[in-house]
Every structure is written in C-alpha cells, then in structure tokens.
Symmetry: C2
Subunit: 274 residues, 2 copies
C-alpha cells in the first residue's frame, strides 16, 4: 500500500499538478436543483485529471447533520482511488479522544490525510501519527487575517531568543516526524512565513490555502512552497474553481478554471526540476 506521500507524489506527477481542489459545498452557490453530492461528483469528474489531491472541509457537510455526511460519503466514493483525499477537519483533542478522531478520519472516512490543530500539544497529534501510512498536516500559519492574533506572537525560548509561535509549531511538528508522515498548513497569504517553513522543513508536504480570493499570489506561492524537486506543495483552491460559474455550465467552468490554475502553478515551478 502506498503511503500518503507516495500517493501524493504519484498523483502530482501523473497530472503534472500542484493543485488541490477544495470540495466545500455551499448551497447558496450551487445551481438550484442540483443536489450537493451530485454537484461534488460533477466537480470531481471535471477536474480529477488536473489535481494532486482533493480536500473536503468537513464543516460544510456537518452543517447539514446526518444528511450532509451522507453527501460526504457519496463524495468520497466518487473520487478515484489514485487521487489522495485530505480530510480538512482541524481536529485537536487529548489522548483517547484524539485517537477517536483519528479513527473517524482515517478508518471510518478513509481519508488519506487530515489536518490537525496543534494548540493541545504533542500528545494531541501523536494518535494521528500512529497511522504511519496516512498524512497529518499540522496547522502552522493559517491564511485568515486573525491568524496573526496568536500565531505571530513572539515567544521567548529557553536561550532567551525569540521566535513567533508558528515557527515553534513548525519545529514541534518537525520533531514529531520520525515516521515521515507530518506536513504543515501554511497560508499563501504569508509568503515570507511560507518561505521560512519550506527552508526549515525541506521535505515535508505543505498544504497551502489562500490563493485567489484570499490574496495569495500563485507564482510566489509555488516558488516559496515547493521542495527541491518542485513537488510537495499542495496548493488549494476551492471557490474559484467550484463556483467559477453559478449556472448549468458549472462543471465546464470548473474544468477551465482548474486548467488555468494548474498551468499557472506549473509555469511557476523552478525550471531545473521534475
């Protein structure tokens, strides 16, 4: 069985893509009369040869309770086996509770990777890492304006040096990476922070939200985010692709938007690579 990293690399090479399409269904934006899971299936079919991963954010399904989770189930079934699926859940809890979340995401839902929140510390991440063939993306520097509230605060280390909290989180995640299954979430809205993280964690997969509407520049994101092989940057786009058109041509429009995004990312890759 492929590990998440192997599956990610394989899909990224097959589709020559750093693009991850976020599957975050919003009924206000889906053409009327189209069911949520039907919408997702159409988006998947229209973009599956253009992506390195898909990323459903669980919030958009959970808001509809059990019906929403049935739509997630049907969405998961529509994704081809060879494309890795990142469960964007941002869970963080302690001990046996974290183990229950890891079971939910990796065994019950069968995500290939998941996002986790570091605030509760190492022992809240460890139960996810025990699934050594899965990927665990630790939130480091998120793409929202409020990310600075805590993540940019400077802390004093025990040598009297200062470093911002997100860097401390990156170092903690790096120290947990003995199974080579840890990644980090770093927003495209913070190019210097992304650059720092890539330099400090040269081989980790980085999940990068925040291009497009949130303001992250694609070419800069690619340059700062890829590893030495021009890979391992998983650059997410959700609404710019899934809602490229609000009409009946939404799937064709999504495909066109995904091609543009994929090509823009590909063209920005350093030339010596792949």
């Amino acid at each position: 069985m492929d590990t998440f990293i192997e599956k990610l690399r394989r899909a990224g090479r097959a589709n020559d893509s750093l693009l991850c399409v976020g599957l975050d269904p919003d009924p206000d934006l889906i053409p009327s009369g189209v069911a949520l899971d039907v919408f997702n299936r159409s988006i998947i079919d229209a973009t599956k040869d253009l992506v390195c991963a898909f990323k459903p954010n669980l919030a958009f399904y959970e808001q509809y309770g059990i019906e929403g989770l049935k739509a997630l189930d049907s969405t998961m079934a529509a994704i081809p086996d060879e494309i890795p699926v990142i469960g964007d859940a941002k869970r963080g809890d302690l001990g046996n509770t974290a183990a229950a979340y890891a079971k939910a995401l990796f065994e019950t839902w069968e995500f290939d990777a998941a996002t986790v929140n570091p605030y509760l510390g190492r022992d809240s991440i460890e139960p996810f890492l025990e699934y050594n063939w899965k990927g665990v993306f630790v939130l480091c520097r998120t793409s929202n304006p409020g990310s600075a509230d805590l993540q940019s605060l400077n802390m004093l280390d025990n040598k009297g040096d200062t470093l911002p909290l997100y860097q401390r989180v990156a170092l903690m995640a790096d120290s947990l990476n003995s199974r080579a299954n840890v990644g980090l979430v770093v927003g495209a809205t913070q190019p210097q922070e992304l650059k720092w993280v890539r330099e400090r964690c040269p081989t980790m997969p980085l999940l990068i939200p925040g291009i497009g509407a949130q303001g992250g520049d694609v070419a800069t994101t690619v340059r700062n985010g890829v590893d030495a092989s021009g890979e391992m940057a998983v650059i997410n786009s959700s609404r710019a692709i899934t809602y490229a058109s609000g009409g009946g041509d939404f799937a064709e429009a999504a495909r066109a938007a995904a091609i543009r995004a994929r090509d823009l990312m590909r063209d920005a890759r350093p030339q010596t690579q792949m």
Copy 2:
C-alpha cells in the same frame, strides 16, 4: 428564551450542582449487549437530577460515522430541556468555514454551548459568538500533559513583558466577551492557572475537565474555579461516572458516583455563597 448562562445557572441551582457529566461512549467499556444510545439514555436518566450540564464529546460519536451520529441524535433527545448541553467539539476554522461549524453545532445539533480552539485567532471564534444566546468555551489551558508544549510558552507583549500563551488566550477571549457568552476551558490539573483565570475573568463560566483519573483535586478545583456566587464552574467528569461499573448495574453505579462527586463539590464551595 434563556441564554446558555441563564440555563446553566438555573440547572446548577435546581440540582445544587457544579457537576457536568461527559457522555463519551466507549464500546470497550460499555457492558456487552448494551447499545451506545441505550447506554447514554440510562446514564442520563440516572444522573439528570444531579448535574448542571451534560457534555458529549463529538469524537466518540464521529468514530462510528453516520451510525455514531444517529446515536448522538438519540442521546440529545434523551436530555431534559432544562439541562444545558455542551457540544465538546473543539472546532477552529476560518471565516465562512467557522460559520458552518457554528451552524452545525448550534442549529443542526442544537447544543446550548460548544468548545472552540483559539489557534486561528479572533475571526475563527467570532462566527460562534454571533449566536449570542449560546455559550462559547474557548480552549485556554487544557488538562493533558502536552498542554504545556504551547500553552505555557512565554509570549512577549508589545511592552516587552512576557506572559504565557494561555493567559494571552484568556485575555483575547475576555476582549471578545461583549455579548457575555464567552467561557474558557481550564483543566483541573493546573490549579494555579485555574486560579489566575478565575481572578482575571471573574464572571465567565469555566469548563473544567481533569478531575479524577487525570489527577485534579476536587476541593481545590471548586475553590479556584467558582465565581463570587459559588457558581459558573462546570466541572466535568466522564469515565469515573459513566463507567463506575462495567456490569449490568452501570446506571445505579453511575448515579452513586455522581452523587459522591456532586456532594464533594458542594461541600467544597465557600460557605458564604449561594
């Protein structure tokens, strides 16, 4: 309609209790042949006149996928209307995603309060706070050993003073409390931290896990955790009550354990209060 705070105060006074019973079903500990929702219903019936709140942790339901959420649904239906229910979900996400989680917890599941993770900053908490009649418990200092990894780090403020991250989070939560619907999660395993938070946030409800197996002393927790009226400390106990017996007498054993815990907390309340 009562706000969460009013409902919490009313239930706490009616049952003369600071005890919150955590509903975290673990099939390894539930007597064989007893379905998860039947088990929860029995626990609720056996303890509902002894508690100020119930607290299901969503992880324990999500690990069973859609079937688990059906059990959560049936659990919610078994809780009397007058007892507030805290959805322990520890969600944290950005903008419209946080809004979807808030909708899931407050509208779809109809929790009276929820726990949220502060790592993404103010704008990740705000969508929950807009439900001004609900309660929002921000994770501050959790009860697990790894909580020290980040929460105890000393952060520099802009005057060059240092304060630990959990205090910075408490101050941020306090600054978000214009609707009087913010609370904090502070573990009983950290008595000095709990004392600091209560002094700094004299009226907030505090959700306090970590007594019993995790090592927090009940009397110290009550003294450090209550407000000036001897209320607003929501002291959680899960396994020590729900699994007091692994046999067919689990409900009677849970009731006996809940009476002991409730009385221990009541006896530790400062005498001048209520």
